[in-house]
């Protein structure tokens, strides 16, 4: 089984995630896209780990999942606070911190 297919899928998922982060305004969708990018990376790690026959990549994938979970907890909390204050989840509306 060639890893090319896995890596190709990972690239496609990553690009979809990246484009989503750049073009969408809804903070929740952006979050989901970030998760998509993280999971694309996880897929690549696991594929390469399987190819090399060691566990390094799989361990990294677990770390990424833990960090992603923590990030979601903090991020969603912030999001909730912003939404309560401004009645909007659009990232473009939260633009007070600037020059």
């Amino acid at each position: 089984m060639s890893p090319v297919h896995y890596v190709s899928l990972a690239v496609i998922l990553f690009v979809i995630g990246a484009v989503g982060v750049l073009v969408r305004r809804n903070a929740i969708v952006i979050f989901m896209c970030v998760e998509l990018m993280l999971n694309a990376c996880n897929l690549a790690f696991v594929a390469f780990a399987s190819m090399h026959g060691n566990l390094d990549g799989q361990v990294i994938a677990f770390f990424v999942m833990v960090v992603a979970a923590a990030e979601v907890v903090v991020g969603l909390a912030i999001l909730m606070a912003i939404y309560r204050a401004r009645r909007s989840a659009s990232v473009d509306d939260a633009n007070l911190l600037k020059y």
């Binding site: 982060v21 633009n95 020059y99």
Partner: protein, 633 residues
Amino acid sequence: MTTVTTIAATGALKLSWLLLVFPLFGAAVLLVGGRRTNRWGHLLGVAMPVAAFVYGVVAFFSLLGDTDRSQDQHLYSWIPVARLQVNVSLLVDPLSICFVLLITGVGSLIIIYSVGYMAHDRDRRRFFGYLNLFLASMLLLVLADNYVVLYVGWEGVGLASYLLIGFWQERPSAAVAAKKAFIVNRVGDASLTLAIFLMFSEFGTTSFTGVFGSVHSGGSGVATALGLLLLLGACGKSAQVPLQSWLLDAMEGPTPVSALIHAATMVTAGVYLLVRSNPILALAPDARVAIAIVGTVTLLFGGIIASAKDDIKKSLAGSTMSQIGYMFLGAGLGPAGYVFAIALLLSHGFYKAGLFLGAGSVMHGMDDEQDMRRYGGLARYLPVTYVTFGLAYLAIIGIPPFSGFFAKDPIIGADFSEHGSGGWVLGICALLGAGITAFYMTRMMLMTWYGKSRWDDKAHPHESPSVMTGPMVVLAIGSVGAGGFLIINDRLQDFLAPVVGVPPVSHGIFTVAGTVALVLALAGVAIAWLRYGRLPVPVMAPAGRFLTVAARKDLYGDAFNESILMRPGQWLTRLSVYFDNRGLDGLVNSLAALVGGTSGRVRKTENGFVRSYALSMFFGAAALVTLLLVVRL
């Protein structure tokens, strides 16, 4: 070359620090004690200098009865660091004891006089505090056994003179005069510090014995440099050309201050410095010529100014410059003149203090009028002042047997035998100076005491109280006798010989030069009588010819200083300010503006839109990855 050895002080001289402690204590109590000492402050202010004088007399007789006449009392080590040892020690020797007696004796008389003169001044206590400080500084100056401690006294004298000249500080003219005196003195002080630096770098010591013992090893160049630096320092304190301009303005102070500055302290410090440094001058004939020239120029300069001034105190101030010029001339002659310079200094202390106190007494009786054109015919109203002033007058113009004749004529006589043919020039100038002295002093006498009265009806001239006339009488006795006492039988010469050496040739008392000086003095008296005695003195000063106009303006001394030193200094500061504002600040400011402007533009990228940040992060990451790939390949 002197061969005197200095020994540790013995007997009464162990207590020589008392000389400093008395006036210092007086100054401290009066200045720190404040208003609560007002009632008895002047009594303490008089008692302390008198106590110092009494000790001075005791020390003098103890020194006289001793064979070792140079005694050093070590007090403490002031600056003990590696190669620099500065001790605070008091040197009592024939030269310093002469000055101690002059300073405390004449100083005490002037201070007693001040009790009456300043009776109605609201700040009399402060005045006495400053006078005590003045005497303490001057005593430290003459008692120091090294140049650093001498310099402390030197600066103390400068400070005290500043405080006293500006005593009536509410008058702008007095405040300006005080600043002027202080600043002009700084020039001389800077020169003296350079001399001390040079001594330390060349000889590694600043004590008199150390410097004088090793000065011959430094070569004539060092000795000449030291001599010239000391000369400029002495010029500042003694108001000699080119640092003379402060003395005439210093008349803004109360009259006793003028008497103190001119007779007992301050201006005599320069003469003391030069005479004390005689072993240095012995190796520096060029410096001695410079001293003699400075003295000669000043004695004519001061005499010409004194001849034109209508203000009695300013005329006397010009006269002091002229007399100190004679002392410098004497000091410039080397061993032939030192003794006579000191003799003139001591007798001048009596008669000039007498003249100033007399002038103060006249002002006291005339509602502080200083213009001699508004005096006239005062002899009837102030008989005691008239007689004492007249005796001092006879002393200063050098009529035998009064002081000036004995003290001044030997200097004039010695000129002709020193410094080769140049000595003749100096001698002829000094003779001329004798004539000018007689002229301006006679003018002062005639305008003040004789002729018709020219004062307003409001003035009621009256004799001063006895607390003022008493000191004047004592000073008049000194003016009559001091010169003869010091010179006849070579008393002062034998006494000072261990310190300053003996004149190589004895000219005797009646010399050809002295006779010519006497004839010229009588001629000066005659000319003054023709112009101010025979003709009535106009109340308004006539326009006068070129020399008179110039002399009224102090021979353009101030104009010279302003145009040569002050204005270029102002231009330099203005140029520096311009260069600083436009040049240095411009560079720094434009750099700051560049940074500020750039950052103002760059910060616009922080626009608050999260997605644009994400885009730049994305491009940044992409660029990094590309870079990594490129580098690896």
